[in-house]
């Protein structure tokens, strides 16, 4: 099986590459369109700023390439957010694969004595899991998150977490999957999720 991690200007590509190696899969990190199109599995990672990342993808026509892929594709963190309709981070239109916008936690009202911090950094519970992506992963399993922006719940939602309010942390539409947390940093269940993705 050929697994390709998309290389662009907002990557945690090394961490994803090493996590795949730990579960016995050699992957290629590439921004070459033909290499991406011919892969069996495509992973779209991301740590960075959304509008800068979108501009980079558009310049190289990678936005259209990704949206037209037919093999299983997994977006991680910013990768997942860029697969949504629009983000308030840099106020930019995204790939529009998942039918939900991305907004900032910081814009949500908080009335508690100790308001929750933004970004959310750490381990939080995922529930309402509805996908083979979560095969053998119990409801309310903890995954590792680092993010300030979140996707709203929509018809593509396959996993939910609560931070200030319930929001989407996993999405699926056709061959496209996305997770807000970092499976590559989420201990054993994170590695199991990556395995599940490769087994889809």
């Amino acid at each position: 099986m050929k697994t390709v991690i998309i290389k662009y200007n907002a990557g945690n590509t090394q961490s994803v590459l090493y996590a795949l190696e730990r579960i016995g899969t050699a992957a290629i990190v590439s921004d070459d369109i033909e290499t991406i199109q011919s892969a069996d599995r495509v992973i779209f990672p991301g740590v960075g700023e959304a509008s800068t990342a979108m501009a980079y993808l558009r310049e190289r026509a990678l936005d259209k390439v990704i949206a037209q892929l037919e093999q299983p594709v997994l977006g991680i963190c910013l990768g997942m957010q860029l697969m949504c309709t629009h983000t308030t981070e840099g106020n930019v239109d995204c790939l529009g694969i998942f039918n939900t916008p991305v907004k900032n936690f910081g814009d949500l009202p908080q009335k508690e004595e100790h308001p929750l911090k933004v970004p959310q950094i750490g381990w939080n519970k995922v529930y309402d899991m509805q996908s083979p992506l979560f095969k053998n992963i119990p409801n309310e399993t903890y995954f590792y998150f680092v993010h300030s922006y979140y996707a709203e719940i929509c018809e593509d939602t396959i996993g939910v977490t609560k931070y200030i309010q319930p929001y989407t942390v996993a999405l699926n539409r056709n061959n496209f999957y996305g997770v807000q947390f970092h499976p590559e940093k989420s201990a054993d269940y994170g590695e199991l999720l990556l395995k599940n993705f490769l087994d889809l």
Binding site: Q14, Y18, R22, V47, H114, P119, G122, V146, H182
Partner: protein
């Protein structure tokens, strides 16, 4: 609910883990990758690797070590020790570190925090502060591993650092470090409740009740300890079970 994090800290010298109190009587404690992997398997939420090597070979060995850690450990980790420039950070992140921690170099050149946050995101810039409560009742910032006192108050520096781009504060109380009598509740609470970023409390953790106290009273987002884990005085699974039973949000 977001969990309170338990973070073992590993001191590294010449590529090996060292154990000791206050840099005295350092003993070899084996391969940092093996020890880190054991802590990860036991339920540590993150790891901090602090390089205390003082040789010119440092950069190369640290880079190689970080790369090996990143290959073997499946939880996030922070690397600190002698980091001062954007290039230092870039090298460590490229080799798989999730965050870096910076201390004296940021105090001497605060603009570097902004540069690092702009280039890599605030989430990977951890500002470490060593602080001591003086007789005048104020907490002051210390530099160079606690050897050099400044006239800057801890809270003032922490607030400025966050404004400049620090995404997390690693706060070590020199009064409490090594005592095993509990963490510094008041200064931790002041930072944790007034700053917009997470605060990791460090120094003084000796038993499970101390961790409970720093999370509940100190409002810490995470707590860090070293020797009590290395010497197996406190086990991570038992500690997390205890905190969970006390009603704290903990990843079991």
């Amino acid at each position: 609910m977001l969990c309170k994090r338990i973070i073992p800290c590993l001191d590294i010298k010449d590529g090996r883990t060292v154990k000791g109190t206050n840099f005295v009587e350092l003993r070899d404690a084996g391969d940092p990758v093996e020890l880190g992997a054991r802590y990860a398997a036991e339920g540590a939420d993150e790891l901090v690797f602090l390089d205390i090597t003082a040789t010119n070979e440092k950069r190369k060995t640290l880079k190689e070590l970080v790369n090996r850690i990143a290959h073997h450990i499946n939880i996030p980790f922070t690397v600190g020790g002698g980091i001062s420039t954007v290039e230092d950070v870039s090298l460590l992140l490229e080799n798989g570190a999730d965050k870096i921690s910076i201390n004296t170099a940021a105090y001497k050149n605060p603009a570097v925090l902004t540069e690092m946050a702009k280039q890599f995101g605030a989430q990977c810039v951890v500002l470490a502060i060593d602080t001591r409560l003086e007789e005048d009742g104020e907490w002051y910032v210390y530099l160079n591993g606690g050897r050099v006192k400044t006239d800057t108050r801890c809270f003032d520096w922490a607030r400025e650092a966050v404004e400049r781009g620090a995404g997390e504060i690693l706060l070590t109380s020199m009064n409490h470090d090594g005592t095993k009598q509990g963490f510094a509740v008041d200064i931790t609470r002041q930072l944790a409740t007034n700053l917009s970023v997470p605060v990791i409390a460090s120094g003084g953790g000796g038993n499970a009740a101390h961790f409970e106290e720093i999370f509940l009273k100190g409002q810490a987002d995470a707590a860090l300890a070293a020797s009590i884990f290395h010497f197996k005085e406190v086990g991570i699974p038992g500690l997390k079970q205890y905190l969970s039973e006390k009603g704290l949000p903990i990843r079991l």
